[in-house]
Subunit: 303 residues, 2 copies
């Protein structure tokens, strides 16, 4: 089954202790699509300017990402320039130029409106709500968000929570949204406001998935070389949604497997700049890493 | 089989966002013993002053902790006063009075010298080495350490590494010791210098156990109320060593189970002040929490 993603399509310039990359493909929708397309067909909705390297998007198109919803508008593309220090835990934003993204109003093409799986990547909650007006009865809607919207669009974000099945957010965002330092309590706060699943991403410390009655935890893969953390969260979401969409199975057991696929995709994303590594890997490498996750947490019952 | 612990026996005064406790049992050896004694007989070696509330130690004695190695010396007991802010991640030390602990020279009683399992809790590496001179052919020796010794006793600590089978340390200490930010590389650095197992504790983010060929990861239990983090690491070590000593099985599979028992004990330790919760729990509660750890990370194979 198809997954629809609506989010940013950007040009990133990133500096890490291990190198730098200039004007490479970035943005939540690109990372999500590069990841999810390993598992299921993807429909992408976003906006770029006239300066965007559209030929570079062909790598995604070849992987089964339908770009019919990628609008090219007059003006400059969204550009982000950032730097990671040695600990790689948080990006320092050096420049942000929203360009045409600042006037983005998602228009879902007619042929995308029946998408059974929808991911509302990190954009203005008002636009996320507009997307929901345009799609018909999806089986699962998930959203992401960030500190900026939690602060500036709180009422709209709370409205959105009522209308999504799942939210992914990082630990700092969960604490900010719920004004609660304890993550278990933060998750309960969110679950009480709509979503049936809450995924709290903790970066190098893994991810929790909470439901009303269960907690599942997936570690981050212990990599020796984390090259560039940009996009790990969106690659996680892509692996997660892609896995659910591929099987169409919404059981708890399958949600858990989906979190592991998301974690595997996140671990690949950080091994190179941009979506480079996500484009390189094949089904065998993905299966092998999922197997590594199993070994990482496996312990046998006592005799 | 018996486990011998050599470490500090202190009086703690702790303030957290949830309350305060004054002059309660603390120190690495107490937390370790309260935890390990749920699984196996414990022999404790340490020193206190004439002001120590020896009657409070009876709770440990009743649980099978042999206090024959607890010396009472002329002078004041080791006292620590600390505070945790809302995030509970790091203690702020307000006062430290070493008292008789500053002249501690561990004397292992004759009847303790054949202990098959030895835990050298966080004390001066020179003293940890002195303990090793006094014990006969233990099956497994593990040690802990801290930033202060990494800085001030580096040569002695490196000498100790050659002579222990396992080291537990937290992520910050691992980075400091190895001058490496990546924990996988840090673990390899330590493994190359002696220990066959390295356990890196990440507090609320769980713990890694590294061997030359394997990595195992155990999450921290997602508690709704973390009351006082003091002693969690030593309770972890107690659960871990106690589990190994109980079975005497040094297979990889058993080491993994031991890490889960350690994690379970760490999660109990933080639910109340001092060793209070560790003294309350019973075998059923421990088994139930170990079961919860299994549910927390379990995901089924694909069909």
């Amino acid at each position: 089954m198809t997954v629809l993603v609506v989010g940013s399509v950007a040009l990133d310039s990133v500096e890490t202790p291990f190198g730098k990359a200039d004007n490479v493909l970035g943005g939540s929708a690109n990372f999500f699509a590069a990841s999810a397309s390993h598992l299921t067909p993807v429909q992408l909705v976003g906006v770029v300017g006239t300066d965007y390297p559209m030929h570079d998007m062909q790598a995604l198109a070849k992987r089964g990402v339908d770009l019919a919803g990628l609008e090219q508008a007059d003006g400059a593309s969204f550009r982000w320039r950032g730097r990671y220090r040695h600990d790689l835990n948080s990006a320092e934003t050096l420049e942000t130029h929203l360009g045409v993204f600042s006037h983005f109003r998602p228009k879902i093409p007619a042929q995308f409106r029946d998408a059974p799986f929808v991911f509302l990547a990190n954009i203005d909650p008002r636009l996320q709500l507009e997307v929901l007006e345009q799609v018909r009865q999806p089986r699962l809607v998930a959203c992401d968000t960030m500190n900026f919207w939690i602060e500036s669009r709180r009422p709209e974000l709370l409205e959105l929570l009522k209308r999504v099945d799942l939210i992914t957010l990082n630990d700092g965002e969960a604490r900010q949204l719920t004004e609660t330092s304890n993550l278990v309590k933060a998750a309960r706060w969110i679950l009480a406001r709509g979503p049936k699943h809450v995924i709290i991403k903790k970066g190098e410390h893994g991810a929790f998935m909470f439901t009303e009655k269960t907690v599942f935890y997936a570690p981050a893969y212990p990599l020796e070389d984390v090259f560039d953390p940009t996009g790990a969260g969106d690659a996680f979401a892509g692996g997660f949604m892609g896995y659910l969409a591929r099987s169409g199975d919404l059981s708890e057991a399958n949600f858990r497997r989906a979190v592991i696929y998301g974690s595997a995709m996140g671990s690949f994303a950080v091994e190179k700049f941009s979506i480079e590594r996500l484009l390189e890997i094949d089904a065998k490498q993905l299966a092998s890493r999922v197997g590594d996750f199993r070994k990482l947490v496996a312990f046998e019952d006592e005799l």
